[in-house]
Assembly symmetry: D3
Homo-oligomer: 139 residues x 6
């Protein structure tokens, strides 16, 4: 019985897009006002979708209490009310910019390592506003 559960979370963070090896002009040409120092921010919405068997006793694919704790500890505590360029090693080292795409990949990687074995991560969708969202989707 293929059933999925989609759970939405929220976090409010700041970020900016800049590559230090590029000139000011190049940064603004590619990133527009997203290159402004010292950054700006968003109310992010994160939707985590998992699949699995429905537990016949509870009717749940996933126990929400456990899922919420996991996403809270592994993701929200790290990102919420922080500056995204600082708090993830790949971003802080300048190897990656904190785009919604890279956030979705980082969150998916983190949750894939920690989800209980009976749950399968299907999708991680990161929306920075009503009009833009990036999604990691299992092949």
């Amino acid at each position: 019985m293929p059933v999925r559960l989609a759970r939405r979370f929220r976090f409010s963070s700041s970020h900016l897009y800049r590559r230090p090896e590029w000139s000011e002009e190049e940064n603004f040409r590619r990133f527009g006002k997203c290159a402004n120092l010292p950054g700006h921010g968003h109310n992010y919405r994160l939707t985590v979708t998992v699949g699995g068997e429905v537990d016949p006793a509870t009717g749940f694919v996933a126990e929400l209490q456990g899922l919420d704790e996991l996403v809270g500890r592994e993701v929200l505590d790290r990102l919420d009310h922080h500056h995204l360029n600082d708090v993830i090693p790949e971003f802080a080292a300048g190897r990656q910019l904190p785009t919604s795409e890279n956030l979705a990949l980082w969150i998916a990687d983190r949750l894939n390592r920690k989800l209980p074995a009976e749950l399968r991560l299907i999708s991680v969708l990161v929306a920075e506003d009503e009009d833009l969202a990036a999604e990691w989707l299992r092949d």
Copy 2:
């Protein structure tokens, strides 16, 4: 031409989560305030997605009037403004709890039996609030 049509419906129902063979403590440990007697409620949103050929005359995958009547008769009339633990035999007999997962499966089973042959049920998504949704998705 793969085209899908997603139609959203609403119903307002009450429910609670309890297993009679469990102790009070176990029920509250697993279900939290969702175990409170005699229940609580939600404004549910139901999104039914069907696929099919676009009718060249009308440009429709599905005639909305017929789809709305079917979902109204088979689903909404049974659930809307009712107590979910009472109105579905599997729930009333205590074999299943009225979670969003079980609702999605029950609705999908019901619509799969009744949809006209030219329509293929793709997904049944049941959201109990803005942050939690269960989805039955055709393999």
Copy 3:
């Protein structure tokens, strides 16, 4: 400096409309499916608006932590995941029905007694769904 702060809360509760001294026919004629036994439910949204001076040190009209605790203790703990006909004395005694209007009045009365003196309750708005809201508004 007239500044107001509007804070939104959510609770999920069940209720029904019935007057025991009325016949079945009269109850359904007046209340429609809202008279169905044993009830149905909603995701309520509650917006509490307060006015006051902006504290020059913090820039706040109201400290959110205190406001959230007050509304949580006085209102949400009483209503959330409960059956509204049971949990408020006026409703349980059958003197009032748990409409959005009566909920707004009950919440306004309760908050008016407990709000700190420097805050003035301006409005209590109770919405049972996207299309219906009742508001108590200070004269």
Copy 4:
């Protein structure tokens, strides 16, 4: 690394459903008030989803500036604040009616021809209101 980017656009247009070779009665029987002359309108939301590799330098699957210009020029400039029955040749010639299904197919065809080679069009979703959406989805 499978990452998708979903970008939402809006346009406000008018349309109506009528087949000239059908009688008035037949048009109203099939299309209801959507057959009213000279038409009605909607605030459409269009969600374009593309897939591709994440550019290691920018962290983007797609440069938004280019995607927005493309959709603006190829789609929005043609549809926004226009009467849909007039502005697309298949619709104007009476070969197709301007349903959400046909709009999704027309937009998908148009974007498939013009998207840069490194992007893959995954989905075109056209919603005429909160409750009805048609989606072209790549097989």
Copy 5:
């Protein structure tokens, strides 16, 4: 006891802004693409707010069934799935343009004449999209 009830309705209509005594250039200078022939459309949301005494028997300020019928008959049947420039005499005669402001005034005038005596019309808010709304508000 000052209680208000806000009820939301929806209608989907088309319109355009043009003054026949103005040149093409002047029409486009003032109205932009809203002057495009033969028009465009919106999903309008209409919020009607009424005030009154709470009926002690029902807990209602207004019986929804009666309010919905009144607004349906007096307003929605006239506007929904129609072209606004045609269906209101002041608009059809070219004396007024079908802006949200003029719609709010027309609806308020119509409801003020027909509301039962125990209800007081407080506000008529007409929103043509998420970002623009006009409101008639009782002095």
Copy 6:
């Protein structure tokens, strides 16, 4: 004829709450995670409500093009994609913290000085997320 027009704008900014003369402990006790360095951010929504006479020729209370330009130049260009603690003198000098309350007051003051004489500023509402909004309201 009392008619109001409400226009919604959006901006994405970062901010933090800290008083330099307070200890770390005091800052976190009062501001919680809003005191985190170097800040976090939000998608702000700004609703500007103006009142005035309906122009008989256009049916407008306010010409949107002019209103949008004014708010863009006076407010959005200053705040959008910037760090709010930096861009307003009162905030940068540490005299005020960039709360929604202070933003509403700053925006209201700025618009009151620049609105054309025929428009009256009624309200400036600043919402930092779905659940919190501050409003300056004309007495």
